[in-house]
């Protein structure tokens, strides 16, 4: 190995270290048997135990999971339809729709958050579960469209033509030919939406009310009061869940490519 190669590898390691070190420190301390000290005092499950003994926190976690599940599901349905429509059909305002989806994905969270807040306020919708759900569906849609569309555009068009020649209606073609081929990408889109929804802070901050609390906002308000080992444990659980979902999504996307 030449010195230049060594320098390259050292640089890669340095950046990976920067990306992962803080997370690893967080995870390690969530198991440390000491409330204040940084010294390693031995392994403990106390902080995790405390989390599970807190009924409020469990309710908040369930709220988050509920919104993430529902919003990912609806966004996946709409996003998949959008991807299929963009691939299959020519229709009025198609390029505008494409542009809108792209812009929506690039929009800073804070801009989307207050735009939806103004919408909900002028419709006089009380902020809570429903407004949160509508907002999460909205920011998830573009990610599903992109994930599904990138798979669909690698398709063999002959399959679709064959289905048509054999007399399939448009709906039958979509249901029996296109969708089965899309299953991995649709699954990956759902998982990514679920992750986005579980992790979102900024949009949720504006569109939910005190009646319906979710995990990231709970963590945010806890951290503002100070660092505790319980937050370490909660963040570690969030990290673990995200990691699992991302790995499955990546496996699904890799399968046939």
């Amino acid at each position: 190995m030449s010195p230049r190669d060594a320098a390259r590898i050292a640089y890669l390691i340095l950046i990976y270290g920067f990306l992962y070190l803080p997370i690893l420190v967080l995870i390690v301390y969530s198991f440390n048997d000491s409330k204040y000290s940084l010294e390693w005092q031995g392994m403990t499950w106390t902080w995790y135990q405390n989390l599970f003994d807190d009924p409020d926190l469990l309710q908040v976690a369930l709220n988050s999971a509920l919104v993430a599940t529902l919003s990912a599901t609806v966004a996946t349905m709409i996003g998949t339809m959008a991807a299929v429509a963009l691939y299959r059909y020519a229709f009025f305002g198609k390029s505008l729709l494409q542009g809108l989806i792209f812009v929506l994905m690039m929009t800073p969270d804070i801009v989307m958050g207050i735009a939806l807040l103004i919408l909900f306020a002028s419709l006089r919708l009380p902020l809570g579960f429903w407004t949160l759900l509508l907002a999460h569906i909205t920011f998830n849609i573009p990610f599903v469209v992109v994930t599904v569309f990138s798979r669909i555009s690698g398709f063999d068009r002959h399959l679709i033509e064959a289905a048509k020649d054999l007399g399939a209606t448009e709906f039958q073609t979509v249901r029996c030919v296109i969708l089965p081929l899309l299953v991995p990408a649709v699954g990956a889109g759902w998982l990514l939406s679920f992750t986005l929804s579980m992790d979102d802070v900024i949009v949720s901050f504006f569109v939910t009310g005190p009646t319906f609390e979710i995990l990231p906002l709970k963590i945010y308000s806890m951290v503002r009061l100070g660092v505790t080992p319980e937050i370490n444990a909660l963040c570690t659980i969030m990290l673990g869940a995200t990691l699992m979902l991302i790995l499955i999504a990546q496996l699904l996307l890799r399968e046939k490519s």
């Binding site: 690039m106 800073p108 804070i110 801009v111 849609i141 209606t169 990546q250």
Partner: protein, 284 residues
């Protein structure tokens, strides 16, 4: 095949409906709200006024805007400086390792940036990990006040945003046709010329996309400023949030948000121009 059209109509209709109601209309309403006056009982009063935009030019707010731009631009440039060589190397790793190494960038990309910001708090707090290491190494005699400083905010933004810079850069560098570089070398171009005349123009869309994905969120991530920078209003994000939460001046908050949208428009335009140029340059 006429009866066939219903599926097309339903799918196109649903998508259009959703995006119109929850993306198009709300943004139009933000622009409208920014042009109204602040109301006493309702959030806005229906009287046209440019007052909110004038207030953005007030020295008090101008300082917040300037400070926020400075912090976001600095973190964006640092992300670019750190991320470009990294993405370049990553795009040249042997195939055997590249999938795993790319996955290791994708994971933080999707991980909650709040959680990652919190991890930075743990590292930087006075009785935190970094101080402990420095003390143990004997580099400092007593713990440094690292938290609630501007460098802490920059470190947090860098940490939260770096994956958003790396991924678009990687996508651009991975597509780069290596034969172009070889051809340039054969024609006698030096390393600097190759970088300046070939690699840079062809990866410019990736650079612009990466800057857009770091700079805009960098202006808005109010929790980074809160958790690492203390209670001061540091970012446009904090300013906007406070207008909607405590100050109750919706038109002013909307005006600040319109400014961010305009900025996004400019960056999207730059992206469009650079990618059009790059694709023209790549033609044989």
């Amino acid at each position: 095949m006429k009866g066939d059209l219903w599926f097309q109509r339903v799918s196109v209709g649903t998508v259009w409906f959703w995006l119109a109601v929850f993306a198009l209309v709300p943004n139009v309403m933000v622009v409208a709200a920014s042009l109204l006056e602040r109301g006493d009982r309702e959030f806005v009063r229906f009287a046209l006024s440019l007052e909110s935009y004038q207030r953005l030019l007030d020295p008090l707010y101008l300082r917040v805007l300037w400070n926020s731009f400075y912090l976001a631009a600095l973190s964006t440039l640092m992300c670019l400086a750190m991320g470009y060589p990294f993405a370049y190397l990553l795009a040249r790793v042997p195939r055997r390792y590249s999938r795993l190494l790319l996955l290791l960038v994708i994971i933080p990309f999707w991980t909650s940036s709040l959680v990652r910001t919190y991890a930075m708090v743990i590292i930087l707090q006075t009785n935190g990990w970094l101080n402990q290491i420095l003390l143990d190494l004997g580099l400092i005699a007593e713990p440094l006040e690292l938290l609630y400083t501007e460098p802490a905010v920059i470190a947090g933004m860098l940490y939260a945003l770096l994956p958003f810079m790396i991924l678009p850069l990687y996508a651009a560098l991975e597509k780069l046709d290596r034969r172009l570089i070889e051809a340039a070398r054969d024609l006698g171009a030096g390393r600097v010329t190759i970088f300046r005349r070939i690699i840079l123009p062809l990866t410019l869309p990736g650079i612009v996309a990466g800057c857009m994905l770091t700079f805009l969120p960098g202006l808005g991530m109010f929790y980074v400023a809160d958790l690492l920078g203390g209670a001061r209003t540091l970012l446009v994000g904090n300013l906007i949030r406070d207008q909607f939460l405590s100050a109750r001046d919706w038109p002013f908050g909307a005006a600040a948000s319109v400014m961010l949208t305009v900025l996004m428009g400019l960056l999207l335009w730059a992206y469009y121009l650079s990618s059009r140029r790059a694709s023209r340059g790549a033609l044989p």
